[in-house]
Amino acid sequence: MEEQMIRFIDDVILGGSGHGISVDDEIVLNGTVDSLGVTRLLDFIEDSLGVAVPAEDVTIENFQSVGSICAYLRGRAEYSEQGAR
């Protein structure tokens, strides 16, 4: 999931100009991805992973790095799996 997301950020959001961001790099606070970029990222998450992200979950805690985004999404997926059981 991390790889997929890094590729998306590099290719689409940063237009191929990304200098190889890593999982723990700050992407929001350092301005790599701004709020408009995050909305692209949300589209990508919803389209490719099928997880809808409510507005109140779009917080700096959940979106500061690729790692935290993926951790958040795993939490969501786990939660919904449990819910389904």
């Binding site: 959001i13 409510p54 979106f63």
Partner: protein
């Protein structure tokens, strides 16, 4: 111009550029898209380096070298390779206050019009002193946005530093051309995907401070405020707190500030759904961050604000909505339509400039005093100088908002921000927007202080008047005139029967006795309670018990203890009991929300207060005669009884009439025997035209419901020039009237007449839901205070406490909550805006929806009920109009339905009988035989050919001539035939060599007016005139035939219906008989044609044998192309181009406009659909022609020219009380109606009942009346009361009528035409009735016109069903003017049009 065109690069405009280009084109001389910044440098600048750096900047930034060319409607952008612009250095250092000069210079320079085909920027370096400079940069918005200014600023800084020899990182700007490609690709992709449903729902226009914004001017003024240091700190803290913190500090701040913005807009609009435009920077790729150019696009963002929202809960909504807006925002995705639907923009600008090359810099966005006129308000939040404090620019339309409002906007907004940052959990409604000072200004504008004088009670005032002039007439009742002496004696005698403090019911009809009784009760120190003898017995009993009446003075039995007036006339009398001012004078019962009527207790103080004011204000020392004609139970009537009696005037009594609908007001108008009338706006609309000049009625006091300006204007036009009309406002609880406005037709321009200012001794406040005074213009609830306030509701302390409140915020002892919405204009005048809560007024009668709902819910089968008042708003577009996929017939046409292929019911039906319908048509060769069949040698002509000058009638004439017939061409010159059409007519008759008559009538304008009033179009009046005049001519000259140019489509539209070919075994001759019958009835209708033209020719029905109508196209079928080819080859005929459509007539548009307005659909839609079905038009031709572009100014000019009274407004007030109920099955409407009548007064019985699965609820679990479905196709409000079917036959007929007419709840006395019936429906009803074994004929139906008459005809007079020809039954003379709708059986319009 510089540069080589060969090297220039061109590109099509982006969506955002195209939108701006189009708006600029609309205002070619206004600098509405000038974006200018002034950067003031607190230090020295190397001028040469700066000038050189700027040249490099222009070379580098293609946005600065872009110009725009109009290439025949489409604009394109050209990027010029070079621009030899040299930055001017302007010396302002010699002036006094150079800084202000720089501001003034920039302000002035920012309004210079840029010629965007030459250059899209302007710039200068200003020398303010040896170490003070300023840089001015102006760009057209086509090439820039706020972010671009930071990009250029930063790059300029680098270039300047480089020019001064410093070494800097040179990061070159990226070309804008790359974004152009990117944006186009995004748009293509979006076009392919097209997955996102566009925001189909147009946002409601945001109306703040009561100012309706119209895109009339671009003039705009700025008011700015900055957050204080403390507030800014609070904002930063909140932005960083958990639960509020968003992705970035800026986004957090934006969401908080936007929350305050939505809260403020909600508070100053009182609208629940707020849509504002959010600019989105669109720099989605890293390279775009260093690109200059226009990226920004505005996207609408709607938030539903609830009154109970706290800032925190509203913030959650704003976060959600703004996130959705951001996510749906895509470069190129904003549409011009969306952008133009948003009138308020909130721009949270993240751009920061900071220092320039180490020099402190102050950056200012210079306002060019203009913005796009679409925007009423643009708010920019920014911190350009990175001070840590946000600054807000409120750019408000100078046309929409007055200076006072513009000035107070930022202040009110700041109050919200402060309150929000102080208490995040506070309800948004808890904030007081006003400072003490502004509140005092509002109070001073509205309320006047009253002289503190003790007022005599009304009895004493009457006694004094009676003593002064005992023999003067006091009451005129029929042929009896009671002098003041007699009234004095009679009332004293009444008084002797009652005790002080007693309560006495009065249920007398309006009469001198009733007046004496009321006076007498007051003289005894008792209180009176008016009771309407026509109330249901239950209600009377309730009121008598509730009020504790010792007796009811009445004439007949009413199920309670009564005393006749005569018994009260004992000779003993005693002197008046002088009441205390707080003694009860009367009680009036009004509807209660729980279904129980409540008694409003009015004390003597209040009665004396109102009557004293009213007599001095209205009578002004004159002794005026008032009519007493309104119900005694209506508090409006208090004026007509007491005002004349305390001022020496007289009462003229108009007693209740027998009929259910009390139209006694007409007698008041017709008699014209009074000076002043107190009445409702509904009454006003009945005021007849000048019958006799010099009317006695000179003053009208209007009360009881909203008065529209159209009604007021219409009424005044019918009175003498010096007549006055007072709009008096006041709930029963504030004693008759307490706010008054004298109508001024010059200055009163709003839809409703203002209610004015409080009378002395009364005070008014407009408060919001939080109990705060609202700012000028903002709607709120109207509260009253002062001497007129009632004591309360008898025995209903809970209700009394709920409506008569002890306020905290306002310095008053008691306030009455009127439940009315109002707003205060800046001059202190109050405007009425309707009911605030569920209390409604229908036809002047106040009722609470809860009472209606309670009555309905008491039906055993009903589990839940809701009621709602629908006001037909002809301005509102109906939801979504669909069009038949075959004929194009629109869904706003009454009675049209569509199948799953969106084919209309008319097309489907026509499929089934098209073949058989052929039988109606006749072979062409028979035509000549018919038209020559009566050549008896007397007449010079075989026939008259009706010639409008259009293609169809021209073809008819030419063909008749070709057949060798002797033809007289006949044209009506209605005064509005276009010049080209006239040229066609004269050319055609000349070429054909036929005799021609141009008939005219001086009464044409009266006929147009009458036609508009009856049929909402002009054509029907015109056609009747043509038929009438041509019949006369045929009669005089012995011509046996009149040939019409009715098209085949019109046959189907008006006479050939499905049933003729499927249900009935009808042959062509039978249809002809019916048509002739209809034609006879049509000419008997008493309309303007009958009044103004000589119609003696129709006195004898023989005329219809003597002169016969022949429809040419019944015999001849011609293809449209052939027809045109024929005309072209033979005649000098050209299609008129000066009427704007395929018509010859310039007044046609008036009819179309008016019909749309009052009937809600296009009067040509149905005829055109038949033209399509007949193959005479294509669907798109028909739709094109129906898509009118009507010049409303011209319509209004013509309406004025023909003398049409401007009563368009009166059509708009059509209120309907509709009830909704939940029940397992449909309950017949008559049953529900009867049930409701047991508990409710007649006026409170809904006119329609609709069954629902569930009643929609709000989030709070209350019934959501706003979500109830709009009723359609129900029995319209008719003049006649509803009478349910009684007999078997009536019920069967009613079922058929309801089915065919598509409406429910038809009463047996409802007129067929009033219900919207037409001849086609008449045929359908006949067919179905026959199938059901009810023997009726079409002429029988058209004679009867009501179910009652029709049933009587079927059943025979003794009520037994028997076979009986309806024609044999005695038919009452047809005088109903509704019969004129039979015109639909004949030509709706000329075949030539």
């Amino acid at each position: 111009m510089t540069g080589e065109h060969t090297n220039s690069q061109t590109y099509p405009l982006t969506a955002a550029q195209a939108s701006i280009w189009a708006s600029q084109e609309l205002h070619p001389d206004v600098p509405l898209y000038n974006m200018a910044f002034l950067y003031e440098f607190d230090g020295g600048i190397n001028e040469d380096a700066f000038v050189s750096a700027f040249s490099s900047l222009v070379d580098e930034a293609d946005a600065l070298r872009t110009v725009f060319r109009d290439t025949g409607g489409e604009a394109e952008a050209l990027v010029m390779p070079l621009d030899e612009f040299v930055l001017p250095v302007i010396d302002l250092s010699t002036a006094g206050d150079s800084e202000r000069d720089a501001d003034a210079w920039a302000q002035s320079r920012s309004t210079v019009m840029l010629d965007t085909s030459e250059r899209t920027f302007d710039s200068a370096l200003l020398r303010l002193g040896h170490d003070r400079y300023a840089w001015f940069l102006l760009q057209h918005h086509l090439c820039t946005d706020a972010w671009t200014f930071t990009v250029l600023f930063r790059r300029m800084e680098q270039l300047y530093l480089a020019a001064t020899g410093s070494s800097v990182d040179a990061v070159e700007l990226n070309p804008f051309a790359r974004y152009v490609e990117f944006e186009a690709a995004e748009r293509r992709e979006a076009g392919h995907a097209a997955e996102k449903p566009s925001q189909a729902k147009q946002p409601a226009p945001l109306e703040i401070y009561g100012s309706r914004h119209r895109d009339t001017s671009t003039a705009n003024e700025r008011e700015s405020v900055s957050l204080s240091e403390r507030t800014s700190q609070q904002l930063d803290e909140l932005a960083g707190s958990p639960g509020v913190r968003a992705l970035t500090p800026n986004l957090s701040k934006f969401q908080i500030v936007a929350t305050a913005m939505y809260a403020w807009l909600h508070r100053v609009s009182d609208q629940p759904s707020i849509t504002i435009g959010l600019p989105v920077h669109n720099r989605t790729q890293p390279e775009f961050r260093t690109t200059a150019g226009l990226f920004m696009e505005v996207f609408p963002c709607t938030v539903d604000v609830a009154a109970e929202d706290t800032f925190a809960s509203l913030h959650a909504k704003v976060r959600q909505a703004s996130m959705e807006t951001l996510r749906s925002a895509r470069p190129g995705a904003s549409t011009a339509a969306e952008a133009r639907a948003v009138s308020t923009v909130f721009n949270f600008i993240q751009a920061e400039f900071g220092a320039f090359a180490g020099i402190d810099c102050r950056s200012t966005w210079v306002h060019p005093d203009h913005v796009d006129g679409v925007h009423q308000l643009r708010v920019q939040a920014h911190d350009f100088d990175a001070t840590g404090r946000l600054r807000f620019d409120f750019d408000g339309s100078a046309d929409t908002f007055d200076a006072g409002t513009r000035g107070s906007m930022p202040q009110h907004f700041l109050r919200i921000v402060d309150a929000m940052l102080t208490d995040w959990e506070a309800p948004i409604g808890s904030v007081d927007l006003l400072e003490d000072e502004e509140r005092a200004v509002i109070d001073a504008a509205v309320n006047r202080s009253a002289p503190d004088v003790a007022l005599a009670d009304v009895v004493e005032q009457f006694a004094r008047t009676a003593a002064r002039a005992p023999s003067a007439p006091a009451v005129i009742d029929g042929d009896q005139t009671w002098s003041y002496q007699r009234l004095d004696d009679a009332s004293r005698a009444v008084a002797a029967n009652f005790q002080p403090g007693g309560v006495v019911g009065v249920a007398l009809l309006r009469s001198a006795e009733a007046v004496a009784t009321i006076l007498g009760i007051l003289r005894a120190g008792a209180a009176f309670v008016p009771i309407d003898p026509s109330w249901p017995r239950d209600r009377i009993r309730f009121v008598v018990e509730d009020a504790g009446c010792v007796t009811v003075v009445a004439d007949g039995d009413m199920g309670v203890a009564t005393t006749p007036f005569e018994e009260l006339q004992s000779p003993s009398s005693r002197s008046d009991i002088r009441p205390d001012s707080s003694d009860l004078a009367y009680m009036l019962y009004t509807s209660g929300s729980t279904g129980v009527p409540k008694g409003v207790m009015i004390e003597h103080r209040s009665l004396a207060h109102y009557v004293s004011w009213a007599s001095s204000f209205y009578d002004q020392g004159q002794r005026l005669t008032f009519p007493l004609f309104t119900p005694m139970t209506f508090d409006l009537t208090i004026t007509s009884i007491f005002v004349p009696l305390v001022s020496g005037g007289a009462i003229r009594v108009y007693s209740e009439s027998e009929s259910q609908t009390d139209l006694v007001v007409l007698d008041v108008f017709n008699d014209d025997a009074v000076d002043i009338v107190k009445l409702t706006p509904s009454h006003l609309t009945l005021l007849p035209d000048h019958a006799t000049k010099k009317r006695r009625i000179r003053r009208l006091i209007v009360g009881g419901e909203n008065l529209t300006t159209a009604t007021a204007r219409g009424a005044l036009a019918k009175l003498e020039d010096d007549a006055l009309l007072h709009n008096e406002y006041g709930p029963t609880e504030a004693t008759v009237g307490c706010i008054v406005h004298t109508f001024d037709s010059t200055f009163d321009r709003t839809d409703s007449v203002p209610i004015g200012k409080p009378i002395p001794g009364m005070r008014a406040y407009v408060l919001d839901d939080g109990g705060h005074r609202v700012p000028f213009g903002v709607p709120g609830e109207l509260f009253l205070a002062g001497d007129g306030l009632a004591r309360g509701y008898l025995g209903r302390d809970d209700l009394t406490l709920g409506r008569f409140i002890v306020p905290g915020h306002v310095a008053e002892l008691r306030l009455y909550a009127t439940g009315d919405r109002a707003r205060v204009r800046r001059d202190g005048t109050i405007e009425y805006l309707g009911r605030h809560d569920d209390q409604v007024k229908v036809k002047g009668v106040r009722l609470e929806l809860g009472e209606v709902e309670a009555a309905l819910a008491s039906h055993p089968q009903v589990s839940a009920a809701a009621a709602s008042v629908w006001v037909k708003d002809p301005h509102s577009e109906s939801d979504e109009v669909v069009y038949c996929s075959r004929c194009g017939l629109a869904s706003d046409q009454p009675g049209v339905s569509y199948d799953e292929h969106r084919v209309c019911n008319l097309c489907r039906a026509y499929d089934t009988y098209q073949d058989r319908a052929e039988a109606y048509f006749k072979p062409e060769d028979e035509l000549k035989a018919v038209l020559t069949s009566r050549r008896d040698g007397i007449a010079d002509y075989d026939c008259i050919s009706l010639l409008s000058g259009g293609k169809d009638s021209t073809y008819v004439l030419a063909r008749l001539v070709d057949m060798g017939l002797r033809v007289l061409a006949f044209t009506l010159d209605n005064g509005y035939i276009s010049d080209q059409a006239k040229a066609n007519i004269t050319g055609v008759v000349e070429t054909l060599g036929v005799d021609h008559i141009f008939a005219t009538t001086p009464a044409m304008n009266e006929i147009f007016v009458d036609s508009l009033q009856r049929h909402a179009n002009v054509c029907q009046g015109c056609f009747k005139t043509i038929y009438t005049l041509s019949m006369q001519m045929a009669h005089e000259r012995g011509i046996p035939f009149i040939v019409t140019g009715l098209s085949r489509g019109q046959f189907f539209e008006t006479r050939l219906t499905e049933e003729l070919f499927t249900e009935l075994t009808v042959n062509a001759d039978e249809i002809d008989v019916d048509v002739l019958e209809a034609r006879k009835a049509y000419h008997r209708v008493d309309d303007a044609v009958r009044q103004f033209l000589d119609v003696s020719v129709f006195d004898d029905n023989e005329i219809f044998d003597e002169v016969q109508f022949v429809d040419f196209y019944r015999y001849v079928s011609v293809d449209l192309d052939d027809l045109y080819a024929y005309l072209e080859g033979r005649l000098p005929w050209k299609r008129p181009t000066d009427t704007g459509r395929s018509t010859n007539c310039l007044i046609n548009d008036v009819g179309i406009y008016y019909h749309r307005k009052v009937r809600g659909y296009h009067n040509y839609a149905l005829p055109y659909s038949w033209d399509v079905r007949m193959g005479h038009k294509t669907r798109s031709q028909a739709l094109d022609e129906l898509d009118d572009d009507i010049d409303i100014a011209e319509v209004s000019r013509i309406l004025d020219e023909i003398g049409f009274p401007d009563d368009i407004g009166e059509h708009e007030s059509g209120q309907r009380l509709v009830a909704y109920y939940v029940a397992p099955v449909d309950i017949p409407t008559p049953e529900l109606r009867t049930h409701a009548l047991e508990a409710l007064p007649q006026q409170a019985v809904p006119s329609q009942f609709i069954r629902l699965e569930t009643i929609p609820l709000t989030s709070n679990g209350k019934a959501d009346r706003s979500a109830l479905p709009e009723p359609e196709h129900q029995r319209p409000e008719l003049g006649a009361a509803f009478v349910a079917p009684h007999t078997e036959t009536e019920r069967a007929l009613a079922a058929i009528w309801e089915d065919v007419l598509g409406i429910g709840g038809i009463g047996v006395r409802d007129n067929f035409f009033d219900l919207g019936g037409d001849s086609i429906m008449a045929i359908q009803i006949t067919a179905r009735a026959n199938r059901a074994g009810l023997a009726i004929t079409l002429p029988g139906l058209l004679d009867a016109l009501t179910i009652e008459q029709l049933a009587r005809a079927i059943e025979g007079d003794d009520g037994t069903a028997e076979e009986k020809k309806p024609e044999a039954v005695e038919i009452p003379e047809i005088s109903a003017d509704e019969m004129s709708r039979l015109a639909s059986l004949l030509q709706r319009r000329d075949g030539g049009s």
